[in-house]
Amino acid sequence: MVVGAVAVIVVLAVVGPWVAPESVYRSDIANALAGPSSEHWLGTDDQGRDVLWRTIAGARSSVLSAVLVVAAYSLIGTALATMATVGGRWIDETLMRVTDIGFALPGLVVALGIAAALGPSLSSALIAMIATGWPYTARLLRGVMRETMASPFVDGAVVLGVSRWRLMRRHVLPNSLDVMTVKWAGDIGNTVLVLAGLSFIGVGAQPPSAEWGAAVAGARDYLSTAWWAALVPGIAIVITAAAFGLLGDMLHERRDPARQGA
């Protein structure tokens, strides 16, 4: 079921903006804040736009952005962890101290800073999240890789004459990434949440973007009269974050040797 939910979310994120009627980006003030009806199943927002279609159209900026962010910082973190593992003690020390600095940067403050420097936009928010996300992957993966390096099969590969880089690529990295997929799946859910938060406070996606956090922010003033305009994108955020979080848990359980047949 979790896999199904994630699949639906990802499909919507890819095709959403294409299938949504063009009207989701156009105002229709006469129809503003209308309740659910046969024409607008989940009502309209303050600009008279269909809430359900806007939420579907916003899936791309919310979900695919999150996937992009996690992919980008995972790549950076993986590269650094690999270098720290292959390189000697000095490279390892240096990279890990740089990672410490990365840890010291508070995500929100960096996001505000980048928004101030580049202007608030979806891409500023993404840059900020990439810039603050990589240390976690780098540190965790370095630890996992060290553990993998101590496995007997690594010695086994070395005595066959496998070079350091090939050892990393063929043996150490694949055996370490196994653990990381659990983290990354969970991270996507979390990133959707943070991105929505950044957009909500105004440093992320800007109106008229259909991004969910921005949509909730726009509908906030009408919460007492037109609650659906905020609730629907809000529920989309919750479902997405939960689905990816559960996917992470599921992957974790699947790789638990106790639950695998020998």
Partner: protein, 328 residues
């Protein structure tokens, strides 16, 4: 240091090998001046208790533990292993020296197929994938893996312990090395499988004329397989003699103690024979002969003078003061 008695040309010649832990903090000498030779086709067992330095010696031959300081000389044919760059070393590993480890359960990469792992040494030498896989299947068949060609795509968890040890052995042999180092190859296996693996090692080394350095603590394993036995105690080789002579007439009190401690089915004993005491930690190695605190026949000089290594008439060597005057 008169050690050279082997008639055949030495394939592997270790001399004055010292291994120290990482400098910084207190450096500890784990291996203290080991001389060891393995001739082509010769099967040598390196025997000792846990902590005697036998495994660390074996791993040093492959330069596996980068954080240890290795001194002395390790020559393979004309190649000095200790002088090689990491790149040259990868060309020697797998193609000139093969190595088999203790635990076949964890010695295989769980995410790589059997075929990929056995063919890897060949692929590293630029042999095409198809040919490498065919050769891998041949070696696996020779080692008694049935329908080997169909099982190249299988993963390690689909194989039993004994089968995995065959796979590990195939990985070591596929590059056609001159010498095989087997580090406790049977310790993690059950007794029946142990016998199979030993038989396999015996056949494989005999058929291919492969030099074998067998690291073990199990004298029972040694008796059936080795031509010569080197007994290691506290980082030194105390006795190194042909297997028959050593079993019939151990010269070093430590060897005698080890042999007496082997459980026997044909003799009723009120209790197991043991050597009193425990082997010393390498950091607290006693002066003189390291065995003297546990030695039943220790003399005064054993506590002060390290016994020199001397040749024995049967072509072996011994490091014990006791033998000096006895003319044995």
């Amino acid at each position: 240091m008169t050690t050279e008695v082997v008639q055949r040309t030495a394939l592997l010649q270790v001399s004055g090998l010292t291994i120290d832990t990482e400098p910084g903090g207190t450096s500890v000498r784990l291996v203290d001046g080991v001389d060891l030779t393995v001739a082509a086709g010769e099967r040598v067992a390196l025997v000792g208790e846990s902590g005697s330095g036998k495994s660390v010696t074996a791993r040093a031959l492959m330069r596996l533990d980068g954080s240890l300081t290795i001194g002395g000389s390790i020559r393979l044919g004309d190649t000095e292993i200790l002088a090689q760059t990491e790149r040259h070393l990868s060309m020697i590993r797998g193609s000139r020296i093969g190595m088999v480890f203790q635990d076949p359960m964890s010695a295989l990469d769980p995410l790589q197929s059997i075929g990929a792992q056995v063919s890897e040494p060949l692929r590293l030498r630029g042999i095409r994938k198809k040919d490498a896989l065919r050769r891998a299947a041949e070696v696996l068949s020779e080692l008694g893996v049935v329908r080997a060609h169909d099982r190249l795509g299988a993963y390690p968890h689909e194989f039993s312990g004994g089968m995995r040890q065959r796979v590990v052995l195939a990985m070591a042999l596929v590059g056609e090395p001159e010498i095989l180092i087997a580090d406790e190859p049977t310790t993690a296996l059950d007794v029946r499988v142990q016998q199979q693996v030993l038989k396999l090692l015996d056949e494989v080394t005999r058929e291919r004329g492969l030099g074998l350095l067998l690291i073990t603590h199990d004298l029972g394993v040694v008796a059936g397989l080795a031509d010569r036995v080197a007994v290691m105690y506290s980082g030194r080789i105390v006795e190194d003699r042909p297997v028959g002579a050593l079993f019939a007439d151990p010269l070093h009190p430590y060897t005698a103690g080890l042999l007496a401690a082997v459980p026997r089915l044909d003799v009723r004993l009120p209790r197991m024979t043991t050597i009193p005491g425990a082997p010393p930690s390498p950091a607290l190695r006693p002066a003189g002969c390291p065995f003297h605190p546990r030695c039943p026949v220790a003399m005064d000089r054993c506590a002060s003078e390290t016994p020199p290594t001397t040749a024995t008439p049967d072509g072996g060597r011994l490091a014990c003061h006791l033998d000096q005057g006895s003319g044995n």
